[in-house]
Symmetry: C2
Amino acid sequence: MIVAADGRVVGRGWTQSGGRPHAEAMALAQAGAAARGATAYVTLEPCAHVSPRGPACADLLAASGVARVVVALRDPDPRTDGRGIARLRDAGVEVVTGVEADAARRAMAGFLTRQRLGRPHVTLKLALSLDGAVSMADGRSQWITGAPARAHAHLERARHEAILVGRVTWEADRPRLDVRLAGLEARSPVRVVMSSRHPHPSGADAPPSLSHREREGARPAQPGGKGEGDPIWIQNPADIARLPADHLLIEGGAATAAAFLRADLVDRLLLYRAPVLIGGGRTLGDIGLADLPHAHGRWHLTDARQLGSDRLEVYEAR
Amino acid sequence: MIVAADGRVVGRGWTQSGGRPHAEAMALAQAGAAARGATAYVTLEPCAHVSPRGPACADLLAASGVARVVVALRDPDPRTDGRGIARLRDAGVEVVTGVEADAARRAMAGFLTRQRLGRPHVTLKLALSLDGAVSMADGRSQWITGAPARAHAHLERARHEAILVGRVTWEADRPRLDVRLAGLEARSPVRVVMSSRHPHPSGADAPPSLSHREREGARPAQPGGKGEGDPIWIQNPADIARLPADHLLIEGGAATAAAFLRADLVDRLLLYRAPVLIGGGRTLGDIGLADLPHAHGRWHLTDARQLGSDRLEVYEAR
């Protein structure tokens, strides 16, 4: 966002699907000559590398005549990683860093996790009873939570490029795993099935390697259209590194959830809890916890809200 | 409570340990001649029956000259059940009923449950992880919740005349089950152990029949002192009817909790939930739920609060 000295917003931009143009290029194009003497607010440090798809944003900003750039987060991409900020300062532009860094880290969690850990940011969703059951003993789970909680879960699907279930859930329910919210149907994620016991049945259909994605927000084209066609099959949690997604939602069942927790591959918990007792139902399996003291301090509550008679709690790993 | 026409409180009273004197007799004795023309506020309808231990409160109130009696709840005791109110009105005293009836019902839950169902009001306490585990698979549960939650649980013990655990918990932990809060040690409840597989080991030590208790708040003398000596043994949940207590707290383990839920003998849930995942731990066993729709609508959230990093939720059965 470019803000003129008199407080008027003269340009806004966001990185486009596929990773280019970057937000800075869009906002500067909108601002034109009004950028001179203005302040640019950016989430991520402007890039310092020229690509065939466009010039470096640090150079664009310096050339635009902005007086000041306010940066929330330094870009961990090794091609930038501080060099964008240095180049701006060398050009005489004032740079302020770290403003609203926590909020930016949350908004950029997918990109940052991909950069830091080479895998998508993983959210585990569980719909639970008060006693922790995700279904009755025989697998029935329709419905533990009510309509408002289920609608919220569909909104979360729309925020993820990929959604994963275990083979048992896939074969038992053939879940559509799509976004059933008016206007958001096109945001349905790529479907992924994990099966540790079998190689994926579609033979040559190995998980695609991740296409180069420079920026957050790119949504891959889906094989067979949105939420249709064959899913991507993987064999174990570590295979998620190769998924064409920076945000992965794990939706079940309990054994699949436990496998990701055991592998320490869950960044965020979405717990939808209904005010019911089930008793003797299916619960989370072994997550490799050695003793109780090790359970503490890992999960940090970041959001809680009432959804009808259910309660949503969001936890993030420290 | 007796309030004079000018708003001054001229008498207060509460029913004494053992059931007599009743609150009305105490408050009227304190008010003396100041009761004339005053308003008496009572939780429960004044009794209409004369006992060897004292006159009927309705007669005492009428004789005192109070102008008005405000009653929260009608007394379900068949010896009164509307007759106390009728006698006051016959004596020319204005009677207002139903004021703060819900709060009164909650405060009098033990007495009302004893009157209506012939058993104590039962609270089930569970300390749980996010995934519903009450312990690790091998039974370790020290500690799931933190110190503030455990202190709150001790305060709840002080509100109950009896506390029950299953035989396995009793033999594994020999829990003290007392109130470890400064100043409240003397409020430690009678200890009760349920063992379905064995008759209680102390042979002739059958559960005592309930002594006649006319009013809420009476606390029975404890065999062997507060929280010491042999516990009372019972064989199944229905035996609680004979316990010398109007408030019973069930503290574990998971199988005992499930047995009470299966028998539909739980009125209130105290859930202390810690922000930890355990995975594969012990959870509530079969509670006899036939299908998910039957799980809904039974539990109603009446209180929720943060206790350190844990959350307490209180549910009451509808």
